[in-house]
Amino acid sequence: MNSLINTLGAWVLPLMVVAIVLFGLFKKIKVFDCFIQGAKSGALTVYELIPTLTGLVVAITMLKESGAMLLAAKLFSPLAAFLNIPEEIIPMSLISPISGGGSLSFFESILKENGPDSFLGRVGSVLMGSTDTTLYAVTVYYGAVLIKKTRHTLFAGLCADFTSFLLCSFFVNLTID
């Protein structure tokens, strides 16, 4: 069962790319021109991310190297131990609602130090794949329509993030042997 899911997972991405391209051809679209146009907007997004990401990654690297997250992680480690969640995942889950770049950089260091196929690497992958930058979405979405009172949006978003933290290692154990 697990190997079936894994094979399926490996097939999804190539199949989807091929299907989209074929459907484009079927609809008589100049697929490569179209691809270039979309890729350009992707490149522009990255260009606009340069300053933000540089500023944030520096602050996050500082936070990481200063040991601050480890101090904070100590607060949560009894809960994590109780739920069989690896302690090393705590700093990443603390930063993920604040900064996507930040959780990405914690995630990368987990991959680098433990390998992607270790238990920690897998739990980190699931956490990374199942959370988004809550603060960013709230700021941008409400900012665009000039809403000042966001009511319980942030609270509900953080509840969702906390759910991911609680469940990620449980589901890793359930679906991967």
Partner: protein, 196 residues
């Protein structure tokens, strides 16, 4: 908001590096951080270009529109008050479709369009409406089926099966999304009761 969080991060790092005796590491981190950022950006660049290109094909060939038609019945359950507001619902389904496909690039502009349409239905334009709260909460959670970013990074670090985390990732996302929407709806319900 970032104007408070960013300096706070820097000050906290400085103070805790003194507590933990890691000031030399902190000094290295400032230089290393800039280099890390550039490496990360290069990796993102290849990913976003590829994915942005494929998405554009999907959009122009009409795949996204068809998908949004499929999405509508489900969204009507989440936004019952928008049953007759097709205009707002259409933008929302495009945003959700882009999210499900893992296309953050496309999802954000479509999400902002949805917010604009919801704002037109809003009675008090300074306070978030019930529908907005639910909609933004959905966008703060991950809705994608294929964790492309994660899978790409996993394969770059030599994973034997980068996609093996997909089922766990989907299950976790769905639960988190469910909790988020539930909390948002409970808040809406309590808010309505308070008014009465």
């Amino acid at each position: 908001m970032m104007n408070y969080i960013w300096p706070l991060m820097i000050v906290i790092s400085f103070v805790s590096s003194i507590i933990t005796g890691r000031v030399p590491e902190l000094s290295k981190a400032i230089i290393q951080g800039g280099q890390d950022a550039v490496e990360l950006l290069i990796r993102l660049l290849s990913m976003l270009c590829l994915w942005g290109g494929v998405m554009e094909i999907a959009q122009q060939s009409g795949i996204t529109k068809t998908l949004s038609r499929v999405m509508k019945p489900i969204l009507k359950l989440i936004f019952p008050s928008l049953k007759k507001e097709n205009y707002a619902l259409e933008a929302i389904s495009m945003n959700v479709t882009a999210n499900v496909l893992g296309l953050g690039n496309a999802a954000t502009p479509l999400g902002l369009e949805s917010m604009r349409r919801l704002q037109q239905l809003n009675k008090n334009t300074e306070v978030a409406s019930d529908e907005m709260v639910v909609f933004v909460v959905m966008n703060t959670a991950a809705m994608h089926i294929i964790p492309t970013t994660v899978a790409t990074l996993r394969s770059q670090y030599g994973s034997e099966n980068p996609m093996e985390i997909m089922p766990a990732s989907i299950l976790t996302s769905v639960c988190a999304l469910g909790v988020g929407i539930a909390v948002a709806k409970i808040g809406n319900y309590l808010g309505r009761r308070k008014k009465k």
